[in-house]
Amino acid sequence: MKRKILSFNGKITFINDEPSKPSPNLPVSEFLAKIIEHVVRTTNLSINVNSTTGGTHSKTSFHYYGMAIDINLINGKKIDDPTNSANVKKVQQLLSLQADIGECFGPFINIRKKGTKIIQKPQMKAKHLNHLHISSQR
């Protein structure tokens, strides 16, 4: 079952970082939507989703299945803005604790979860310094 992520009165925005490209506000897995909404509700931080099912990703990416999103802004600031580190860390920590999380890649936490098994992927950090890549397991 797919649905759009709720906007929470503008707390969650969907601005493509490539302005000429379509809006990423597209239906995603309801499990992924619930994860994102839960994190925004709990932290009260705003986020911008800059990619859902569009963009160019690995051939096997969960993006193509509506099971992954990218986040490039938290509270209006870039992920790699040093003054935003605490917020980015808080969001990543909460995301990584969710039962249905599949991938949580970013500057602070890089894990791949399969069932209840968590695999550390420190090599992903270098490619996720300026955005978070989040996917769900279903």
Binding site: S58, T60, S61, Y65, M67, G102, R112, M124, H133, R138
Partner: protein, 133 residues
């Protein structure tokens, strides 16, 4: 000018010197692949026959390269090769894992022919193991 053109071309066209890879890339034939409707595990079966022709009742043999990949941005992947046979054929996919399966495994059936003797082989593959039954 000609030198610059040649230099540019040499930077763009790089020959692959790995002999096995050159032979594989030029000769493999995809005989089956999973439809990937469910992002759990995917597989491709690539058949490669040895070069040459039948001579004194001895024919070039075939192997199947079995690729296995999980889904995700940086997937874990594996590659297996069957033993050689006179002929390998794909019969059917028996099992494609569903989302959430604890130990996802793909099961399929092949038919092997050796000296005119046909044998069905059930293959069970995951990212870490392969079993022939």
């Amino acid at each position: 000018m000609k030198f610059i053109t040649l230099l540019t071309a040499s930077l763009l066209i790089v020959s692959c010197a790995k002999t096995d890879l050159v032979y594989f890339a030029n000769n493999f034939e995809t005989i089956a692949q999973t439809d990937n409707a469910i992002p759990t595990l995917s597989s491709r079966l690539l058949r490669v026959r040895e070069p040459g022709e039948c001579d004194n009742n001895k024919c070039p043999q075939e192997v199947i390269y079995i690729t296995v990949s999980e889904f995700g941005e940086y997937p874990e992947q594996a590659l297996y090769i069957t033993p050689k046979a006179n002929k390998w054929q794909f019969i059917e996919w028996n099992h494609i894992p569903k989302l959430g399966e604890e130990k996802p495994t793909i099961i399929f059936t092949l038919k092997k022919t050796n000296k005119n003797i046909e044998q069905k082989v059930t293959v069970e593959v995951s990212l870490s193991t392969i079993e022939y039954k």
